[in-house]
């Protein structure tokens, strides 16, 4: 390359070519590591860590026992700009990048994964779907509220359709003049539906067209005919309300349609692709949270006169898991950067969601073992991480589906 550049210069001796431009062509600038975050992203990480320690950590056990989120902490999320991270400043958001949102989800998950899923769904699913496909009117109506005081739920799954999302039965029949739609049906497993003030609902506006009738609606939670059912009693993420939703002749104005009628299936797939990176952030936070809560114990606990962290068997286990956690971190933030840079990222997003949920489960499980008997009690936080991480391999695309997605893309590459 050097000789080519030089020959170009000799052929055009009069070309005004600055030395620095020449230097840049010959010597590529030093590329950053994936884990070299920008000043702003580092500030976000520090701030969320501090917030999580001060505001969230003291109440985690209490909320797990009560099975509910404290409203004051929810408000604090909004007051600190964590619910509208990518929303433009003109709508009251923090106008940051996608990586910052993933960082926030990770750092919150390291303290309470239930709050992390709320923040993840809000930022990576609802807010982004509105920003990508919402009309000006819809954005102006909802983005300011989403940024400042309104939580949201993503309503796709039903009793009969989880992975097979397009087999949904909820309908949204248009009125004869098309000015409004009537929704009938029910949704299941809807996260944070007790706290949400707005629902992003996927329903079929033209069942005869199959999945090509699926349409996304942005619906006020107060709309008549919507019932939020009883909270599920779950193994983990207990503070996050998971409820069924019923729609009985719910009439919504045509302006509630997100983007175009019949494009809902596409929006769901696309937004969930990115949401996967957010989930990977949550699983990464769980893994790190469990690991960091356990390492000091390995120094303190002595058996046979030795800190248990000094036994080679323990050291090898720690090294193995630290390696896998590091791999998850690099994969997750690399996928985030790929998305930010406009590169195709579906395979990488699936990979980091798949792998992060596997690593989180492994790490949480091992941390209980490292703590010994007391790790099995509620005195130690690691049993909570163990319960909280399990749904990671299930929601936003089961691990089997991630494997299928990755396999399909690889097949197309060969």
């Amino acid at each position: 390359m050097l000789s080519r550049t030089l020959s170009r210069i000799t052929r055009q001796p009069s070309a005004a070519r600055s030395f620095s431009a020449l230097a840049e062509e010959i010597f590529e600038p030093l590329r950053p590591a994936v884990t070299m975050y920008s000043e702003e992203e580092t500030a976000v990480r520090d701030m969320v860590q501090m917030w999580a320690q001060q505001e969230l950590a003291p109440h985690v056990r209490e909320m797990d026992r009560e099975g509910a989120m404290r409203p004051d902490i929810l408000k604090s999320l909004f007051d600190n700009g964590l619910m509208g991270m990518e929303i433009p400043e003109k709508y009251g958001g923090s106008e940051m990048n996608f990586t910052s949102a993933v960082i926030a989800v990770e750092e919150i998950a390291a303290v309470d994964p239930s709050f992390a899923i709320l923040v993840d769904i809000q930022n990576t699913l609802t807010n982004n779907a509105l920003r990508f496909w919402g009309s000006e009117e819809l954005q102006e109506k909802w983005l300011p509220r989403l940024a400042t005081d309104t939580a949201s739920s993503f309503c796709l799954s039903e009793a009969g359709s989880g992975t097979d999302a397009f087999a949904m039965k909820t309908t949204a029949i248009p009125s004869p003049d098309g000015s409004y739609y009537t929704l009938n049906g029910s949704k299941l497993w809807i996260s944070n539906s007790k706290e949400a003030g707005v629902f992003l609902v996927f329903a079929n506006a033209a069942p005869e067209k199959g999945y090509k009738g699926i349409t996304a609606f942005v619906i006020d939670a107060e709309t008549e005919g919507i019932t939020v059912g009883k909270k599920e009693r779950k193994l983990g993420l207990k503070a996050s309300s998971t409820c069924p939703l019923t729609f009985e002749d719910v009439k919504v104005d045509a302006s509630c349609v997100l983007g175009e009628v019949g494009m809902g299936y596409k929006y769901a797939i696309e937004i969930l692709n990115e949401g996967r990176i957010g989930i990977a952030g949550q699983q990464l936070g769980i893994a790190k949270g469990a690991f960091n809560a356990t390492m000091p114990y390995l120094r303190e606990r002595k058996q046979f006169g030795t800190p248990i962290g000094d036994f080679q068997g323990m050291q090898h286990q720690v090294a193995q898991l630290a390696t896998e956690i590091h791999a998850v971190e690099v994969m997750t933030y690399n996928a985030a950067r790929m998305k930010e840079n406009g590169l195709p990222f579906v395979k990488e997003a699936s990979m980091c969601k798949l792998y992060s949920s596997q690593v989180a489960e492994k790490v949480a499980s091992k941390c209980i073992e490292w703590y010994g008997g007391v790790g099995f009690t509620e005195d130690i936080i690691v049993e909570k991480f163990y319960r909280d991480c399990k749904v990671g391999s299930i929601y936003e695309g089961t691990s089997n589906i991630q494997l299928q997605t990755i396999a399909k893309i690889i097949a197309s590459e060969w």
Partner: protein, 252 residues
Amino acid sequence: MRVLVGVKRVVDYAVKVRVAADKKAVDLANVKMSMNPFCEIAVEEAVRLKEAKKATEIIAVSIGPKAAAETIRTALAMGCDRGIHLTTDARTDQELGPNSVAKLLAKVVEEESPDAIILGKQSIDGDFGCTGAMLAEHLKIPQCTFAAAIDFDAKTVERETDTGTEVVSFPSLPAVFTADLRLNEPRYATLPNIMKAKKKKIDTKAADSLGVELNEGNTVLEVFEPPPREAGIFVDDVDGLVDKLKNEAGVL
């Protein structure tokens, strides 16, 4: 009233520090750095003054390596209006001593003419606790150190001492105040403020371009950890204790 606050980039308080292999300094490689906790309290005090409309402008100043700009950004995100960064490659935990820092800050004060200068009472790396007092001396202005409460209207400061709190008054501004732990509880920057901080200005200049002699005349010979604490022993009674104190420890 315009306020100048000093912010120092130090090893994060939660880090377990280790001595470098050459025993000349603490090992800072890959170690997490943060704003000195007492500087955070100083910034918080200044920001509260602005919120109470008692201050109109807050300037955050830091002396340190290139990365100290992050510390100034944090101060801006907490609510300061602009920053001044005096860059230096000298180790701010041991090479650049309090007198040098005080002289540099004095130059900044001469240029900016603030009404109040608030610093942390000490840094958690050098732990000298001298910079504020030295700065006041260089400027020949009043100093109220170890402040637990500052009343700018009554011109009084509550100081923490070993025997309790005393109240002192200062005659006039400008004056130097150093923040003690109980002065306030610092806020963390909210995301919207981190955003706004991006647009605030930081003036950068080299510390050695200010015409200040930066050589303290001190050299660090060795840095070492304190000897590990040894186990105590049980004694049977008071006589046994007195015997040990007299004959073994030699303190009686």
